[in-house]
Each structure stands twice: as structure tokens, then as C-alpha cells.
């Protein structure tokens, strides 16, 4: 089977999103002309999006728009994983340790980065971001884990 063209995929995504918003909007009051309810505007825009998505997908089927560009799984997964690590750890462990661990994950995304260089990057960034963001700029972030007092 021929792989789907990127326009078909994009069209389906748009149509799906549009339909999703329309369905969810049914829980909200539609209202009338003088008093637009919270459901009216999203229903209108969502329907338009669903329609347009269908058109894009259909046109994509007929013409040859080209397949999606190659999806590189390794950097994709590792960058997302690094963000997740940061999100989960920053409140309980503080910025310093979180930065070390986040860089440890993210560094795997680049094959060229040696372990030693990654370690140095992690330490420099951990110190740097604590000093710049917390000490100098005064952002509300803990540097050390909360159980350190």
C-alpha cells in the first residue's frame, strides 16, 4: 500500500480536532443571537475546521502532495522524555539535581556528544541556571530538594 500523503494526514488531524471540539461544545449552552452561549463560537469554528479538514484530506487523496518528511524517533522521544523528567522532578528535587538529570536524558538525543562532554555540560548548566534564574533573577524555584530544609 502506498503511504498516505501528508495532506491526507493533516486533513484527517484537522477534521478530527474539529469534530472533537464540536462534540465537546454540545455540553455547553449554545445560546441565541442576543446572548451568545459559551458553546456557540466553538461549535461554529469547530464545524468549519472539520469541513476544511475533510476538503484538505480529499484533495490530498486526488493530488500527489508528497509523503510526510521522515520522522526521527530518537531525538523526538528523548527530547520529550527530558521535558517529562524536568516536569516531574523540579518541584520535589529542586533545580540543581533536576537540571543534571534532564541533561543526562537529553544528551542521548545527540550521538556526537561524548559522555564526558555531556557531564560537563550538565554541571555547567545546572550551576548556571541556578545562579542566573534563581539567585540573580529571583524566580520562585527551589535549588535543593525540599527535605534538605
Amino acid at each position: 500500500m502506498k503511504p498516505l500523503s501528508r495532506d491526507v494526514l493533516a486533513g484527517l488531524l484537522f477534521a478530527g480536532a474539529g469534530i472533537g471540539f464540536v462534540i465537546m461544545s454540545r455540553n455547553y449552552n449554545f445560546g441565541a443571537g442576543t446572548r451568545m452561549g459559551p458553546g456557540m463560537f466553538p461549535t461554529l469554528v469547530g464545524s468549519l475546521l472539520a469541513l476544511l479538514g475533510a476538503v484538505i484530506a480529499l484533495r490530498g487523496l486526488r493530488s500527489d502532495a508528497g509523503t510526510p518528511d521522515r520522522f526521527h524517533l530518537r531525538p523526538f522521544v528523548l527530547v520529550l522524555l527530558a521535558i517529562a523528567v524536568f516536569t516531574i522532578l523540579v518541584e520535589p528535587l529542586g533545580l540543581f539535581i533536576t537540571t543534571l538529570l534532564t541533561v543526562a536524558v537529553a544528551a542521548l538525543a545527540d550521538r556526537e556528544l561524548s559522555k564526558r562532554a555531556a557531564a560537563v555540560t550538565a554541571v555547567v548548566l545546572a550551576i548556571g541556571s541556578c545562579v542566573v534564574f534563581v539567585t540573580l533573577l529571583g524566580l520562585q524555584l527551589a535549588i535543593w530538594p525540599s527535605f534538605f530544609g
Binding site: L9, F41, L80, T99, A109, D110, L113
Partner: protein
């Protein structure tokens, strides 16, 4: 002579030591991210948004604006020396700039880019100072119907000017509007599309959306390939010769004029301006043969245009409270953080902010000239930092920045989601800029439509019976029709291709 006294007030504001410092900081950071490929002004401003909490409105705006136009200067350095666009608006500069560097004329290319940018920046700032006040006066008379129709026109224009498929751009705008509606409906108090997540009650964090789509999605893209960069170390004298200057005077002025006009349009800004200026230059300059082989006019025109466009894109923001590109959308966010509702009233209620910003732009352009000519060696050194060190820093800074806006873990989860979505969009050739504009304008459009309908007692024809509103809508429809018509579409594609 009201203009002069206003400007004097602005100068007094901009010249306070605090504002001078933040202006310098802004243009310095702007040049820095402009030079670095893979990090743009949108992500940088988003990162610094939490920092502006503690500043007053004037220093905050002065610094953030400096980042945007400063990045236009920095982008040319990378384009000329590495043949990589430091900023997307410097793509065309690389065509002739890099050839010049190969011919041993890197110095004059860099010099001319800085001089062109400086002239363009100053002229465009004057355009801003002259045209913004009367426009704001008109905008004060707009009712909700006019606002709704004008925003529609703005979004349509953004679609037309986006590269790639028109239909997909329209779909991205609509998706952006819907995402903008997530959160508590201001009128009914109803929570919409939040799935019961408390962190979504105030809506999707714009910083998370912008950093995901423009910052981290690009990081993934850049990690796909092991890059190889050759930096031209030998620059030589920066000063262009007299004949170069004479040759480029026309190009700089044409670039400035084109950039000033395109910067005002929604979706325009610096990027489109540089493309259009290069295309125009190829048509009118004589002899045209040398373009692409190191013609200095091919550097002067787009660099002037992108800087002019960066300055004038502040006009819709400051007069109508409407962003013309994602950077301006972030600046709206910055204003709202300061408790200022962007719109035509800003100019009269806070003249020191408006005129201070304008005066700071002139000072900032002067600083940039100094930063970019004598200090060029510093930026060249910076270019030798490999991406493998840089991306870790970008990732950490984006995460910290997103978290700090609201101290909310939900926001970093959103950053993750939009990073993933942004990467998929890149693979499917869907431009993120229209989505971002829809996201910002969506809730404003709903609110204005609601008000317009309440005033007209539910009669939707109010949108077409009020003449100005009707004109905006007719123009939108005409634009859309012409874009979808096949013959014009072919021409547009050809124009954007170049």
C-alpha cells in the same frame, strides 16, 4: 509640534539609566540569539517573560522589543559567515552574503548589513512615530463589529502571506482559535475544554504553546542531522567602499520602504519583508546578473527590509492591540502581565510607555551598530559553539521559563504536548505562525462578536451594515477567493518560491 514634545517625553523615559540598561540588554540578547541558529526571538522572549514581572512596563517592553529587532541584526552575521540563516528572516541574505564571504568580501557584507539595518531601523521608527497616533485615533472609534471584522481580515491576510498551502494555513488559524478558547469563559464562567484539569482554568499557557512550537520542535529538527559548520574567520575591513555605498543607497531605501509596508500587515513582519525586498531588487537593480554571486545589493536590501519590518510590526500592536506576528503576540502577553490592556488607549493613557519605546528603538539601533561593527569578533567566536552543547541549554531554559510564568507544572506538560505537536506539524508542512495568531485573536473575536450581537439585539447583519466592518469583511472574502483561484495561486507560489 505636539509630536516633538511627545518625543521629548519618550527620550526622557528612554534615557533613564535603568531603561538604557534594559535597552542594551535587549539588543545584546537579540544579537546573541540572532547569531545563534536554532534559537529565535520568539523562544527567547518567552523565556524572559517571567523575568519582566519585576520590571516596570517601560523597561520590560524596551528590553523585549530590543530582542526582536536586535535579532534581525544578528541573523545576518550567521547568514554571511556560515551560509546558515541565524534567523528565518536572513535566509535570502545568505544567498549573496555567503558568496561575498567566499570572495573574500565578508567584511563589507557585514558592514553593509549593519549600515542598511541601521538606516532602515531609524526610518521605520519614524514611520511608526508618525503613523501610529492617527491610526490609534481612528481605532478609538471602532465598535465591536469593526473589531471582529478587522481581526477576520487580519487572520485572512496572515494566511495569504504564510508560505505553503492556503487551505492548511486556514485550518491552522481555526485550530488556533479553538485552542485559544480553552479555559474559563469570561461571560458564563463555564470551563470549556479543560477536561477538569485545574491548571487549564486560565487557558492554555501561551508561553508553553510558543516555546513548544517555535523553540523545542526546532530543537528536535536540528538534532536530526549532525551539522557541519565552516565559519569564515577572516573578515578583513568592515567598511564598505564608497562605490559600494553608492551602489546600495537605492537598495537600502527600497528595502526600507517595502519592509515598512509589509511589517504592518498581519503575518508580515521581518520574514516576508526580506524575501520581498530581495525579489524586488533582482527585478529593478541594474545590472541584475550578479545576484546570487555575491552582489552586495542582495545583502543590503533584505537586511534593511527585515529591520524595517521588525520596527513597523509594532504599529498594529500599539494602535489596535492586535499582534501581527508571534513575537508581537508575546509582547501583548507581556503588557497584560503588567496590567495594561493593549489597544489604542495605551498611547493617550501611558504616553511615557509608548514614546519611551519609540525613543528606545532609535537608541537601540545605534547600540546595535556599535555592537555589530567593532564587536563582530565576539559573535564570530560564538558561532563556533557546536549545537550539541547549545541544545541542552535551550531545552533547560525553555522548561524553566515555561514553569516560571505561573509556577505551574501543568504548563510544562503543555510544553511537552506542543513540542510533539510542533514536530508533527513540521513533518506535515503545516506552518505554526497562523495557529499562534488564531490562538491570540480567537478569544478577542468571540468577545467582540458577542458584544456586537448584544448591541444589535441578535441581528448578525450588523457585521455587514456598518460600513467599515462591511469593508473589512468584503476585503477578507476577496482575498480568500483570489488565493484559492488557481491562476493567482500559481503566481503566489512562484513569488514565495523566489
Amino acid at each position: 509640534m505636539e509630536l516633538l514634545s511627545d518625543f521629548g517625553l519618550g527620550l526622557a523615559t528612554a534615557l533613564s539609566w535603568q531603561n538604557l540598561l534594559y535597552c542594551f540588554l535587549g539588543v545584546f540578547l537579540g544579537t546573541l540569539v540572532g547569531v545563534l541558529p536554532g534559537l529565535g526571538p520568539v523562544a527567547t522572549i518567552a523565556m524572559l517573560l517571567p523575568v519582566t514581572f519585576t520590571l516596570g512596563p517601560a523597561p520590560a517592553m524596551i528590553m523585549l522589543a530590543g530582542i526582536y529587532y536586535g535579532a534581525q541584526y544578528g541573523g545576518s552575521t550567521t547568514a554571511i559567515l556560515v551560509n546558515l540563516p541565524g534567523e528565518s528572516s536572513s535566509v535570502v541574505t545568505a544567498l549573496d552574503g555567503y558568496q561575498m564571504a567566499r570572495n573574500g568580501r565578508a567584511g563589507p557584507a557585514l558592514g553593509m548589513a549593519a549600515i542598511g539595518s541601521f538606516i532602515a531601523g531609524c526610518i521605520a521608527t519614524l514611520v511608526l512615530a508618525l503613523f501610529a497616533p492617527p491610526l490609534a485615533e481612528i481605532a478609538l472609534k471602532f465598535g465591536p463589529a469593526e473589531y471582529f471584522s478587522m481581526m477576520t481580515l487580519g487572520l485572512v491576510a496572515a494566511v495569504v502571506l504564510a508560505s505553503g498551502s492556503v487551505l492548511k494555513a486556514v485550518a491552522m488559524v481555526l485550530l488556533g482559535i479553538l485552542l485559544g478558547l480553552v479555559g474559563t469563559d469570561v461571560n458564563s464562567g463555564q470551563q470549556r475544554f479543560t477536561f477538569g484539569v485545574a491548571g487549564l482554568a486560565d487557558g492554555i499557557s501561551f508561553v508553553a504553546l510558543a516555546m513548544g512550537l517555535f523553540g523545542l520542535a526546532d530543537v528536535i529538527l536540528n538534532l536530526e542531522h549532525n551539522e557541519k559548520r565552516g565559519v569564515f574567520g577572516r573578515i578583513g575591513s568592515l567598511l564598505p567602499s564608497l562605490s559600494d555605498l553608492r551602489k546600495c543607497a537605492g537598495s537600502i531605501l527600497r528595502g526600507t520602504a517595502l519592509g515598512s509596508v509589509l511589517g504592518i500587515l498581519p503575518g508580515g513582519g521581518a520574514l516576508l519583508a526580506s524575501f520581498a525586498a530581495y525579489t524586488l531588487e533582482k527585478r529593478v537593480a541594474k545590472p541584475p546578473r550578479e545576484f546570487g554571486q555575491g552582489d552586495i545589493r542582495g545583502v543590503a536590501a533584505p537586511e534593511s527590509a527585515n529591520n524595517a519590518g521588525a520596527q513597523t510590526s509594532f504599529i498594529p500592536l500599539l494602535t489596535l492591540g492586535i499582534p501581527s506576528n508571534p513575537t508581537m503576540a508575546l509582547l501583548i502577553g507581556a503588557l497584560m502581565i503588567q496590567g495594561i490592556q493593549p489597544g489604542p488607549q495605551v498611547m493617550t493613557e501611558r504616553p511615557e510607555l509608548f514614546w519611551g519605546l519609540i525613543a528606545s528603538m532609535l537608541l537601540g539601533n545605534l547600540m546595535l551598530l556599535v555592537l555589530n561593527l567593532p564587536l563582530i569578533g565576539l559573535w564570530v567566536r560564538l558561532l563556533t559553539i557546536p549545537y550539541k552543547f547549545l541544545f541542552n541549554a535551550i531545552l533547560i531554559f525553555c522548561a524553566i521559563g515555561t514553569y516560571s510564568v505561573n509556577n505551574s507544572a501543568t504548563d510544562i506538560w503543555l510544553l511537552l504536548v506542543f513540542t510533539a505537536v510542533g514536530y508533527v506539524f513540521i513533518k506535515l508542512h503545516c506552518e505554526p505562525a497562523p495557529l499562534v495568531l488564531g490562538f491570540i485573536l480567537g478569544p478577542m473575536m468571540e468577545e467582540n462578536l458577542r458584544r456586537a450581537l448584544r448591541i444589535s439585539l441578535g441581528d448578525p447583519t450588523v457585521l455587514v451594515t456598518r460600513p467599515l466592518s462591511a469593508a473589512f469583511l468584503v476585503l477578507s472574502v476577496l482575498l480568500l477567493i483570489t488565493m484559492i483561484a488557481p491562476s493567482i495561486r500559481a503566481k503566489r507560489e512562484a513569488a514565495l518560491q523566489e
